[in-house]
Subunit: 723 residues, 2 copies
Amino acid sequence: MALGERGGWDKSESRYCGVETDFNDDMPHLLSFNLSSGGFDFVVASLMDPNYRPSLMEKDIGGGSHVLPFAGSDLVLSPSQWSSHVVGKISSWIDLDSEDEILRTDSETTLKQEISWASHLSLQACLLPSPKGASCANYARCVNQILQSLNNMQLWLRIPLVKNDDDTTDFIPSGDSWELWNSFRLLCEHHSQLSVALDVLSSLPSANSLGRWFGEPVRAAIIHTDSFLTNARGYPCLSRRHQKLITGFLNHSIQVVISGKLNHGVPSVSLDSALDHTGTNVESSQRHSLRPYLDYIAYLYQRMDPLLEQERFELSYRDFLQSPLQGHNPLFHIISDEFCTIEFSNYYLSFQPLMDNLEAQTYETFEKDSVKYIQYQRAIGNALVDRVPDEEASSLTTVLMVVGAGRGPLVRASLQAAEETGRKLKIYAVEKNPNAVVTLHSLVRLEGWEKTVTIVSCDMRCWDAPEKADILVSELLGSFGDNELSPECLDGAQRFLKQDGISIPSSYTSFIQPVTASKLHNDVIPCLCAQVSPLEAISFSSKCALALQVKSHKDVVHFETAYVVKVHSVARLAPCEPVFTFTHPNFSTKKSNQRYKKLRFEIPSDTGSAMVHGFAGYFDAMLYKDVHLGIEPSTATPNMFSCCASSSVCFVESYFDTGLQIPAWFAIFFPLRTPVCIRPGSPLEVHFWRCCGSTKVWYEWCVASPNPSPVHNSNGRSYWVGL
Amino acid sequence: MALGERGGWDKSESRYCGVETDFNDDMPHLLSFNLSSGGFDFVVASLMDPNYRPSLMEKDIGGGSHVLPFAGSDLVLSPSQWSSHVVGKISSWIDLDSEDEILRTDSETTLKQEISWASHLSLQACLLPSPKGASCANYARCVNQILQSLNNMQLWLRIPLVKNDDDTTDFIPSGDSWELWNSFRLLCEHHSQLSVALDVLSSLPSANSLGRWFGEPVRAAIIHTDSFLTNARGYPCLSRRHQKLITGFLNHSIQVVISGKLNHGVPSVSLDSALDHTGTNVESSQRHSLRPYLDYIAYLYQRMDPLLEQERFELSYRDFLQSPLQGHNPLFHIISDEFCTIEFSNYYLSFQPLMDNLEAQTYETFEKDSVKYIQYQRAIGNALVDRVPDEEASSLTTVLMVVGAGRGPLVRASLQAAEETGRKLKIYAVEKNPNAVVTLHSLVRLEGWEKTVTIVSCDMRCWDAPEKADILVSELLGSFGDNELSPECLDGAQRFLKQDGISIPSSYTSFIQPVTASKLHNDVIPCLCAQVSPLEAISFSSKCALALQVKSHKDVVHFETAYVVKVHSVARLAPCEPVFTFTHPNFSTKKSNQRYKKLRFEIPSDTGSAMVHGFAGYFDAMLYKDVHLGIEPSTATPNMFSCCASSSVCFVESYFDTGLQIPAWFAIFFPLRTPVCIRPGSPLEVHFWRCCGSTKVWYEWCVASPNPSPVHNSNGRSYWVGL
């Protein structure tokens, strides 16, 4: 029945709440009791009698074919009931890394039988019990074999949420259960169908330590009833830290599962009144003892801030990698190798499929309220005042050129700045895209700007300007600042800027920070999807070789590509560091747009170890003096739409050739081919290069410490931007 | 003129000795002085004036096109002189990781110019100067760019042979120059054209530390004249440890280069007499001052043990990976899916191309002297005596079955054992391969064994034996013991063995040890050979994507395959540990041939860190009681041919269907997809599985610690042996 409707447009899976049940061979009853009566959306239920052991069975029956003690046939529930309402709970006694060989063999047999059965039932997920000790190699080997040929089912590895700094946990040597998960998934090679179900206990690790999990593939949070406190009225509730964590989970599509016994003396009045209401019903007379816990989670869910318009708009872009390959591969360049419109075309092509369902009203709204042009207007205003003293305001005319004028928003901002400051302006609006120029002409006519604005339908590289400009205004920045060749564009344009002229922006800097981002990393790797039964792997090799071929090919090229993405399910492991800075104008004769930067990141000591899947990249631009614009999380320009918790602010640009607007300046993501594990006290040393050839510009990057990675994207072999 | 002829058949590159020279723009003179007069085979010479700096050039000439100050044109030497006698020495002042940006940029320009020039000259190798500090990321990035599009030229990175346990070396934080090399090659992704030239200094690190380099791609050892001692007669000589090291280098095809000034007061008499001999020649009057050092190296070379017949035979197999794919892919199984002859066919197919040049006499020699059948004869003799007391020797007849009798060597050994011990024998020789059976029949006729030996032309799995055997003799072991399915074969055959019967072999155990083996690892990776200039990488991407695709596909499948190989250029990092043991006969009803073993290796603390490219595997078999046979280095059965230093002993088997003999039981090599760096004090934990399906048997393996690797060969997807 779901936790309720969160304000806005939320279709998140975290609306559904589950309950962990004991083994019961009457599955229809179990389901009806927990769903109809209990109000839960799904059960996490054992599929097999916990007393079953394969080695005992064989003795009893003597080697003949025998029926396994499953909970009834698959017919006791409809297929949709199985797949929508049951998560299979694998027998918790299994221990594949036991020293006892019989137990080990029994465990392997049982694990394979149960998953095979769950797969036959088309369950969406199975919950795997926690590894019993520090060693999990044999368990992981067996799960990895299963994963090679699993249908779409997810395997949720149960991991207790434990990190003791004093190393007191018995079975996890470092005291950090993240290490256990990390070993397991490395052995299973980051398989996309292997995910985590976290056991939330009564005490929680530090915030930094918890933060790591938001970049991991956590699918469920299992909250034990003894992790709840009791409020003044006798009802279960959670500590503030627990509340914050659970809200975080709900905000990241992580489903909650309640586990355990009723631990709270819920006032009998409430129970009685519930009974009174539905007294005649036998089911409801067995009022579900865990209902108060569900009610509390529903309360937390409903209490969350409603989604804002912009957040709703962004939902479908969250953690969705947008491959710049569409923009920067040779084929594409034949179609639109246009100096200044490459960014538009690029966005257009990659955004188009997702945008068909958005209403024109949405774009209109964003356009009006974007702070971007307000910041430009402030910057231009300040520059005009600095350039023309008040006493000359009526006599001096400032020549301003907008390079890449598009549909005209910067022309409008410039005119508004002139009006505001009482300065006289002459504007050249230079635009190469002939479609945008059409709109621009119509705008100028409509607004009556003919005397002030000259439209130049020309590539700024070729334009023979009739005079030099006082101010050069452009908006050529990508998510990583210089990544759409703003430096090269402005170097080309500054020949028609006066020696003492002003460029807006006057400088910009890119930033990166290391992130855990298993979803992004897995989206870079196409799934290995050979369809073979795990128990019978005949003629598996040829299929598999093909799948591996596809996978591996994509691996290298795709892992050497930077992606534009609205990062959401990531863990930011350290504060951003600046990477490359460009300043305009730059009349030096020895200037170069090549850059090289060595960066060091230290993760906080209470984080524990963490996996770095790559780097989130941002920019910050100084438009003019103190007027800046940017998405670097610590200094991001607040978006008027955005009062949400999300730290990366999103702007909207107009895309003139299509008449559509789409969110611009999401972050950029530089993946690592092999994720790097970092430990507190061992800084992460990273090197970034911006390389320029005669026909293209590209980045190379590598990790130098703690363990060197290969240099990514050597010679721009996988990813570049054409000049 | 080469260091001389080493006894035997040596065609090693280490016969050639080079000399490092100062810059000289008269290259013909430089070459004639060092080669004709000095006796060296090649020079390591600077190609560019050491005073050249690109940044200074541009100022002088003003940006126009200018000629670089190279040492003359390419015409001063013939193409073959350039490629055979000159190794290019890249300017040693370059420092790509300097804080000084101008120096860094100059260095990058110079490096690219010089390598481009060397490549134009078709030099075989260039010597890259040592990284100047602990950080080498920018240097490695630039070299990596060059490597992406280099012709066949090798790049030798100069590394001083330094490992201080007290961490006193200034520029290497750990005091271990291996770390510098390791970082550099990781950043360059183990590129096969990047290798090492070691600077041998006067003090040497520990033997374990030195041992690591024998698994690394060391191409040259540069010995400084001040590393030489002076002998009683005033001539230069080397310490015993240096001698041993240099001899090791020469034995591993590592070329020696002499560097430095004359440091020894070589008696003038000797110099004078040299002058007297060739006094009239101007060249020889400039007697080369480094000639005494060359003479000493030639002395070391000539003093090395001559190659034995078996070593000569093995030379062409050294470090040559033999892919079992030929034996174990589906296509092959159609041709020769024969239970017991799979090993022969497999060897036959993969060995054929290399064997055409070997003489029949060679095989004959090996056949006669192999200790293998002597060991079998001893084991059978002991078993006969145990089974039949002396007093019953003339009355009791022992039934002995040879399963997989082939051309008859075990039949012969059995008969000789019976004769030796005075026991009566009845032999069934079971062989499936009809070609071998022809030879077997002819042998029996020729030797007059008709009364004793019954030939059964039958698959042992199907044979309906007329009686049960006292002794079952087989030779079904592979390099890794059970890897050619001896357990499954003998399980099938033991139904015609008496309950108290004896199997020879009675048990066998496999062993592994971690090795540094860069040559083997690089041979698993096909080279990435896109041919693009490093300075102009237009339209590079599509070519490169294709090459990457090929490379990556081969990566996964080939790195999950075990190879038969005569390991030579490897560093054995820790003693062997036992893996799987099988005992025969095994009449238990619950037996399984599945196995699982967890192994821990500790590397000696004075080794330093080391790279594990994979595992060398061996076997040891107990034939009967104390008679064993094996290749595990610490207990290997000595081969009568082998009194060489090589620790892995090589046997020869007869291959009946072809009439050829080839060396069997080389080691096996299990690669790791990503080499693992291990450090002293952090044990290497490795897991091996032997998995059995209904149609095939395969291994899976992984590293669990210090950092977990993926489980290799899941479900036998890349490599298996069919049942």
